[in-house]
């Protein structure tokens, strides 16, 4: 099915999220939509999927103008969407999720789960997926959940499939498998719109590339274009990725983690027997695909996990068993993975957020009373020092952009007297400028002579920041390797394989 968008414009108030976008996706073509965060890719796809109504322009399928008043119309017209955040009910089975929204019933309103099961099996067989229709979604790995999303779309006879940032949560290997699935879909005549910002994937799988910037199409490119060409089109200026990072000057071993295990509320080991050491003045990056225990490991270092076995010592002091407050007192600085949920109070002002974990004593509290003058002075100075773009210190943090929110968290943690700095996914979802800023600050923290632990799922960040790299897989450390380890080796390790010549 051929999809055409003609002059689609979508405005939000005076914001033009999509500006006269024209796009043609031929039948059996993989068309990449490339663009930065906020470039308007997702808005465009939401227009296509009927979630937003376009202010101008039209959508054509095989030359017929379509009017979608909701996703149901789009689905019926043959458009399927694999969302960035899966739209699956975690406690339902695969079959139940696949039938959700167009449930078939038998006599007396009984759900015809068998029909759904059969459909799941049929589509699975066609694409070589191994999916048990009766598996519960929350028990499945992320890559498999995504396949369920694909099955769900295909079960409604989607002829145009939209993949919205599908690889963000996948391992390099799972990504390759997804690419293969996309090629197979294409061979079956399905048109694919692939939204991404990862150039490698684009060049590997795309037939055509449309680059979007600031809500408008800036040009088409062929998959043979170089990364630099594509990136410059995307960002609109020449860009350079190098972190100003001097050689490490490691001191004594400072943080020692020995046989650490974390047990979650379902009595599963999410971190298994992990041991490593970090020297003062060294960055250890914990690499790995999301959900392999990195989050729980960092939480254990901060005392947020209730069931922890093993030992964590910082400069000889045992940390395991201390409450979070005790960890903070011991000088642990922490950037949580999910800053909006764990690092900030959206309704609070910047100033209030800057004292979030310092409400127990000096300098911001005396005799149980807030020292608002001190706090304001500190906040004003911090705003300038960390280049937080906001109207003032009383601006609510929830109204800031992601980059500025992260700067608030960073400023709060780095302004304490730290003896260990732990940053979980510190640049996730940030814009280029903020990423540079965060990286520079992390390196500065290292250079101040404290051990630094960074969790990252992005290989490039791992390589750029690390002095040493520990790769985690299924709760264990696959190996600890030097920063100059080749990427394909790291990729294999992230999938749990120990390549030759790597000491586990």
């Amino acid at each position: 099915m051929k999809l055409e968008l003609r002059g689609v414009t979508k405005k939000f108030g005076s914001l033009v999220a999509n500006d006269r976008i024209t796009l043609t996706v031929e039948s059996g073509e993989i068309h990449c939509l490339l663009g930065e965060n906020g470039a308007g890719k997702s808005t465009l796809m939401n227009v296509l999927y009927g979630l937003y109504q376009a202010d101008e322009g039209e959508i054509l399928l095989d030359g017929v103008v379509q009017h979608f008043s909701g996703p149901r119309d789009a689905i019926n017209a043959g458009i399927g969407m694999v969302h960035q955040h899966f739209m699956l009910i975690p406690v339902f089975t695969v079959a139940e999720n696949v039938m959700l929204g167009h449930e078939q019933t038998t006599f007396g309103g009984r759900l015809d789960l068998d029909a759904s099961r059969a459909k799941v099996r049929e589509i699975s067989a066609r694409f070589g997926f191994e999916i048990d229709p009766d598996a519960v979604i929350e028990d499945l790995p992320v890559g498999v959940q995504q396949r369920v999303e694909i099955i769900k779309a295909l079960s409604r006879d989607a002829k145009v499939l939209v993949f919205d940032e599908p690889t963000a949560v996948l391992t390099p290997q799972e990504t390759d498998e997804l690419m293969a699935i996309m090629r197979q879909l294409k061979a079956n005549g399905t048109s694919i719109v692939f939204i991404t910002h990862k150039l490698r994937e684009v060049r590997e799988v795309a037939d055509r590339i449309t680059v979007i910037r600031l809500g408008a199409v800036v040009g088409e490119a062929s998959p043979s274009a170089s990364n630099t060409e594509l990136a410059s089109m995307m960002v609109g200026r020449a860009i350079d990725l190098t972190i100003a990072k001097g050689p490490e000057l490691p001191g004594d071993v400072s943080l020692i983690v020995t046989s650490l295990s974390v047990i979650d509320s379902r009595a599963q080991y999410v971190v298994k027997n992990v041991s490593f050491e970090v020297r003062a003045g060294e960055i250890l990056v914990i690499a790995g695909v999301q959900g392999n225990g990195q989050t729980e490991l960092t939480e254990a270092i901060l005392g947020l996990q209730s069931r922890v076995e093993g030992s964590i010592t910082l400069n000889g002091e045992e940390l395991v068993g201390r409450p979070v407050g005790g960890m903070l007192d011991a000088g642990v600085g922490f950037i949580p993975e999910d800053r909006t949920e764990d690092g900030l109070v959206a309704e609070f002002t910047i100033a209030e957020n800057l004292m979030l974990d310092r409400s127990m004593g000096a300098p911001f509290v005396r005799w149980g009373t807030l020292q608002l003058g001190t706090l304001d002075e500190f906040a004003e100075a911090t705003l300038i020092e960390f280049d937080i773009r906001a109207q003032g210190i009383t601006t609510r943090v929830g109204t800031l952009s992601g980059g500025n929110q992260q700067k608030v968290v960073l400023a709060r943690e780095l302004s304490r007297d730290l003896r260990l700095f732990v940053a979980a996914q510190p640049t996730r979802g940030l814009d280029v400028g903020s990423i540079e800023f965060v990286h520079t600050r992390i390196v500065q923290a290292r250079d101040s002579g404290i051990p630094v632990v960074v969790v990252s799922t992005e290989l490039d960040e791992v390589v750029a920041l690390a002095d040493r790299i520990a790769v985690m897989y299924r709760g264990g450390i696959v190996g600890i390797v030097p920063a100059n380890t080749p990427r394909d080796v790291l990729g294999l390790m992230m999938a749990g394989e120990i390549p030759e010549g790597v000491a586990a």
């Binding site: 939000f12 808005t43 955040h85 940032e165 150039l199 949920e341 773009r389 979802g429 814009d431």
Partner: protein
Amino acid sequence: MTDNQKPVTGAKIASGFAGEPVQSPSGAHANGVDANQVDPIVAAPTEPAPPPAANRIITEILGGNAMISFLAIVLALAIGSVLIAFTNPAVQTSTGYFLSRPGDTFSAIANAIVGAYAALFQGSVYNFERSDFINGIKPLTETLTFATPLIAAGLGVALAFRVGLFNIGGRGQIIIAAACAGWVSWSFPMPYFLHMLVGVLAAVVGGAIWGGLVGLLKARTGAHEVIVTIMLNYVAYYLVSFLLRTPGALQASGSNNPKSPAALDTAIMPNLSNLLSVLFPGAPVGTFRLNFSFVLVILATFLVWYILTRSSLGFRFRVVGQNPNAARVAGIDVNRMYIVALVISGGLVGLAGASQVLGTNTTGFTAGIDGGIGFDAITVALLGRSRPWGVFFSGILFGALKAGGYTMQASQGVPIEIILVVQSVIVLLIAAPPLVRSIFRLPAPGSPVRAARRPGRLTEVVTK
């Protein structure tokens, strides 16, 4: 699996797309490319996990502005007018011949509404029909008298709200507090005034224990405070009922009724007339019921204001109320905050119990001593948007409705139930800010209209 990977449920789908598209972390960023690099650093997308539902509801309710509260009151009074007109006999009669003389109907409606609200004013603020000021102003002091326990209990409920807790247990806490204060008031002879203060202290402690019990259960076992407080209301009611029927416990000796003895004179709060007679011996001092507990309530309002806005404890309260996850990461002991908050909340509600048995109802009480204050306090806290002074003034408004309602009924024959309907409608509207917004066509917070006023946001996000 982390939160970010969790598949979103159906409910989330709608909200996920309702936000501003530019701010939604839909894509991620290329960090730039070097000719030799394989591909750019890419930041994985984030989607803020929603805070717990209860917190979100509270935030939504408290996020409404004073304008919403004011409009809710206006709207509720308008609805009250309709009810007054419908229930008025003169209006009913005149509609019988509406077609021949429609003017009669309209004037009857006008008379009914004006008469009712005039009576409301007369009963709650100032009665111009009285000859002297001392009697004319009495309705206002009645308003404040009715307002006193509402404010005290409202402060307690409001404080709990700010920590993200629904304290529905005002009734039980008042009953327990009243029993404690009452017991002190007739059992332990003490010097004047001191006796009363000890009684107040007993009430506050009683309420605090009853509230703290909820906090303890929540913190230790994860029991939901709404269920626990509601159940403890019954426990308190039947426990005190039993004690009031048990000779040697709380029952007045020589009586068969489930009623307590009267408080000793030394334990009774001095009222405004007492004060005036000391200040102006010989002058007419009236028969004011407004008593010392109003002073205590003003002090309590200051105290809650201090706790919530100036103390580190209040800071931690608010962090827990807004985002318990962030509180945990910031080293705040969330469970401890729940306990402390419910202790203070219960203590404040207990103050309402003291004001009842030592102030206005000193001749002995029954298990019905709460008189609906425990639940009205929730209303008061909501209308006051859980701000200390907001609660203070909404308490006075509700006191006025109570005081004036009786006059409305007595002088105009307006059923007292209409006042209750007005009160309920106010709360209903406060709890549903979108409804008020759509009636008065106010912009919703975070709507595209608002985004349009700040066009800088798009460019900031995109270009940086």
